[in-house]
Symmetry: C2
Subunit: 385 residues, 2 copies
């Protein structure tokens, strides 16, 4: 079945993952190309990088990011998270993936065990493995990480260096950690002296109620390090994000050797993003993303209900992903092998130790609504053929 | 003695290390503020980031950097290194400090030993320590790393994961690795199966003969990974550099989990720098840096000979640094404690295990010539008071 319009383009010289023409790749966990604000970002760059401004923005930057950028960032995050955020609780990162490398070297020793949700983001595995860490999975259900199961492991003697989780609109399941569990998780972190590394790029991308950040449950304990990113809010290529936590926790990260040596991880891009915060562009852009992704998420859910009634899923309230149970006996990887014009992430790629072959992660962030419907049609055809 | 003009400014909100007014800080190993090309970089940014250009430059980037940037980079490096460089031998990094973190996790296992020059760059220690590596120092003399001493360690059973060295205009000594030693170092790397990580930000900044990159001695062995950086050639705040080596070696680094996850470490900045290469600005700028730093290096050497005749040093042929033997019985750290308006890096900070208290690292890259002369005056006063 031919799409009704040309597919959203993801090709050419710049991209990490190409989608061949005619293929709908619901595995793409990245912003829609038409939502990448090239001209607005370029305008901010030309305002910030011009003769007469302080050239020292090009110098080795302040390790945690310069103070008035962190103040602007604190205001932006506080509004999105609906909680007080202080600039002393923030540091600039080069995006979450590289931040996880620095986090691994700061809060864990090689050979240490790290707890992750099971399933979890399928490339976090590799970042932790590169740092010599061992993974231990704890199941996720419709209320997020199974904190009782985590507690049993702790009572049984497990001492993780940190717990890595995605509390809001989890990747891949799309679920949010229930408030009672969030509170209990932070209490366990304090009692058993581990850090909770909360990967939170989707908090602001809610189509229903705001989930908030896990950091609101920290309440001065100094156990939660929340990682934010402009990758999903502005553009992945900026390689800019932030770490948010108690000043002492953030300070430990900022003392990593590479930051002491090179200074701030991306001061020039931070300076340009600073302009997009102060001008109000960023907040307006995030507002638009919420509306667009809300419509796309709804379109995907509706199409699944109407056209693939054997599939079961929880309609996502935000984020990028919908986690679909394709039914007993279905193997998503085998399905993919038969699929010619559809791609998605099979559940097994996101699994730590659970058997999640019957699941698929579908992203609704990348394609237009009619393309998502088309993708579900193709999935339904696969399931019934 | 008051300076004849206001000192070169290094202060304000953006900088990692401030020099208080009135203090000459010859420890600053960074480009001169007046040589930071803010307007030219801003012009390149506005050319690259404007409506009509491909917005996918803001997407997750190709892990190693997009092909035509690597081709442009290969042309630039080939001209500066006077050797053939292929785009397949290159990958983009987020600057050398963060690259050393990824190198440590790729080419070493925690607990492994890394050989460094003794003395070496004083913050590289901390990057390696964060990755759980042990340091073993090998002395440097006026022809660079003492390769015979390294060989003795290897014959004695030492098996380093890699050797970290700064072959051209070493930090802190300013010396270059002699060609015969460079050749022997690469032969040892092949024989004992270790990688040589060559930190080479200063190769192009020669005021005399070009030293070339250590990579010219690799000759297909696949033992040398050369790290380059725009920090010293354009601006530190860009957080952009490159790794250069045999394709298989570069590929190993590009397979680090954080790169598989986040894509290229700094694609937007790479895209802007691409413009400065193609426009010819970068080559012209590096040419200017060579001239300016050459004059400054000569002024520092002349001032040392004339005003501090008890100090001994090898006049640097390039780079940023001059390594000064302050004389028997002198303790540079104690000298610093007495200094009110002068700073420098005492030799002991650069030492791995050697006793280098009588040495000082002076940078000539940051200040104007008359300020360097003034700094030497202050040093001479300290030495004789």
């Amino acid at each position: 079945m031919a799409p009704t319009t040309p597919l959203t383009n993801q090709g050419g010289r710049f991209v990490q993952t190409s989608a061949p023409p005619g293929v709908i790749n619901l595995g793409l966990g990245q912003p829609s190309p038409r939502l990448l604000p090239l001209a607005e970002f370029g305008h901010a760059a030309s305002e910030q990088l011009r003769a007469g401004n302080d050239p020292l923005v090009l110098q080795y930057g302040v390790g945690r990011g310069y103070e008035d950028f962190r103040r602007a960032l604190a205001r932006f995050i506080a509004a999105e998270y609906e909680q007080a955020v202080d600039s002393d609780e923030l540091m600039v990162t080069g995006g979450t993936s590289s931040a996880l490398t620095f986090v691994s070297e700061t809060f864990a020793h090689p050979g240490a065990t790290v707890v992750t949700e099971d399933p979890t983001y399928f490339l976090a595995h590799e970042v932790f493995a590169c740092a010599g860490l061992e993974l231990r999975g704890v199941p996720v259900d419709e209320r997020g990480l199974d904190v009782d199961a985590l507690e049993q492991l702790l009572v049984g003697g497990l001492r993780p260096a940190f717990v890595y989780c995605i509390p809001a609109f989890q990747n891949p399941t799309g679920v949010c950690l229930a408030p009672a569990r969030a509170r209990r998780l932070v209490e366990l972190a304090e009692a058993y002296a581990f850090v909770v590394v909360a990967d939170e790029p989707y908090v602001a991308l809610h189509s229903g109620p705001r989930p908030g950040s896990l950091s609101r449950y920290d309440e001065g304990r100094g156990c939660v390090l929340s990682l934010g990113s402009f990758s999903k809010l502005l553009a992945p290529g900026l390689r800019l994000g932030w770490a948010h936590g108690a000043p002492a926790l953030v300070e430990r990260l900022a003392n990593h050797g590479a930051l002491r040596s090179g200074g701030c991880l991306n001061p020039v891009i931070a300076n340009i993003v600073h302009h997009t915060i102060d001008s109000g562009f960023l907040a307006a852009h995030v507002e638009e993303l919420r509306a667009v992704f809300g419509r796309r998420s709804a379109a995907l859910s509706r199409a699944l209900r109407e056209r693939a009634p054997s599939a079961r899923f929880i309609a996502p309230g935000g984020g990028y992903f919908c986690w679909v149970d394709l039914g007993e006996g279905v193997d998503a990887s085998a399905l993919l092998e038969r699929a010619e014009s559809l791609r998605f992430i099979p559940g097994s790629r996101c699994a730590v130790t659970r058997d999640l072959r019957r699941y698929a992660r579908l992203s609704f962030a990348f394609y237009e609504e009619h393309e998502l419907v088309e993708g579900v049609e193709r999935l339904a055809t696969l399931l019934t053929s």
